[in-house]
Point group: C2
DNA sequence: CGTTACGTACACAGGTTGGTGTATTTAAGC
DNA sequence: GCTTAAATACACCAACCTGTGTACGTAACG
């Protein structure tokens, strides 16, 4: 176990340059935005020489794409897997964002890159669709009459809350949660009716 | 009427350089984004020398702010003034966006500028608040039980639809309209109940 | 006419950006 | 010790950005 980690070629020095670069991206892109973050600054934060950064990622665009791809497993971390909740509760749990929150970088990326062809924009779309699909699936489990519709509606609420929080600087997720509750109640035939 | 228009000092030549600059801003900022539009290109489109541009606007930031301020009267043009509609119908009419649509530049600006202190970000907030206020007011006219809540909820729907349209390239306003209908029905005690 | 004020054309400063070239250092494996 | 490969430091490039300085043109007024 003399070698700490084995990279593509078998060796490693400073404990994962790639990881540090992506970690710095995550931090800086979120704090300052993508376009306002230069590669010089990013490499300084990552404590990586610019040369090595460009050996791991052929361009900044590729780095941005990888940065976005990294979120897929992270966001909505344990919302849909919580077996201790009913499907209905799981749908509502999606709106309990802890204020500090990741605050969906996909919208920001789509706006900043401004090119629907950009691979990162593709990832953004894929992710949005995936979220809607999961909501739809859970809505179906919860017994919704029209799960696709409810899933799409809840996804729209999440995006609305994220966008509004961004512009207004005031948390809009409680409002979204309130709407979600109404929609869910309307879409799921309760036993009491 | 020899002088076509009288400007600050009394004279005018090419029929409103200021107008052409703002018009070009509107076009280019929307098409390419703010940061990706240079002053050179903007002046070329506006058919205005760069020198004069900087005589009308001391900086690009000021131009951006003015560009955003210009929308206040434009957006939601005749939605709240349509006396031929009931308040309830007016609330729903806000979601009938003609697809091509202006597609709210405020979210984009807030993301691109990325500085809540920027005057343009201020305008964005003001506008969002104004829209919510108008919705609230109309909700009150419509007899909603909690007009503030309904107004805020509908505003969130508008933002959600705008953001989602931006990311997905597919119109989300019908979905938002469907949600709005549910919310309105739930918030306004109908005579038939 | 001359004055006045706006407009133009064009170069240029000063800065930042993404990205590279080069020579050097460090560590691992034989 | 030698080789190999990754990482480093650092200078550098070309492109682009916002913004300015300068000299010239041109229209409306007296």
């Amino acid at each position: 176990m003399t070698e700490l980690e084995k990279g593509p070629q078998g060796r490693r020095r400073g404990r994962g340059a790639r990881e540090r670069i992506l970690s710095a991206s995550q931090q800086l892109f979120r704090e300052q935005g993508i376009n306002r973050t230069g590669m010089d600054q990013l490499c300084a934060v990552a404590q990586v020489s610019k040369r090595t950064a460009y050996q791991h990622f052929t361009s900044k665009d590729e780095l941005v794409a990888e940065y976005l791809r990294r979120f897929d497993p992270d966001v909505m971390p344990g919302v849909f897997d919580r077996t201790d909740l009913t499907p209905r509760e799981r749908l509502l749990a999606a709106f309990e964002i802890p204020a500090s929150a990741p605050l969906c970088p996909y919208i920001a990326a789509a706006v900043e890159l401004h090119d629907p062809q950009h691979p990162a924009s593709q990832y953004a779309r894929d992710y949005k669709i995936a979220i809607a699909a999961r909501l739809t699936e859970t809505a179906r489990e919860a017994g919704a009459i029209n799960p696709e519709q409810l899933g799409e509606q809840l996804a729209l609420l999440l995006d609305g809350a994220a966008a509004r929080t961004r512009v207004l600087n005031s948390a809009s997720f409680p409002t979204a949660a309130a709407i979600a509750a109404v929609l869910i109640d309307n879409a799921i035939p309760t036993a009491s009716e």
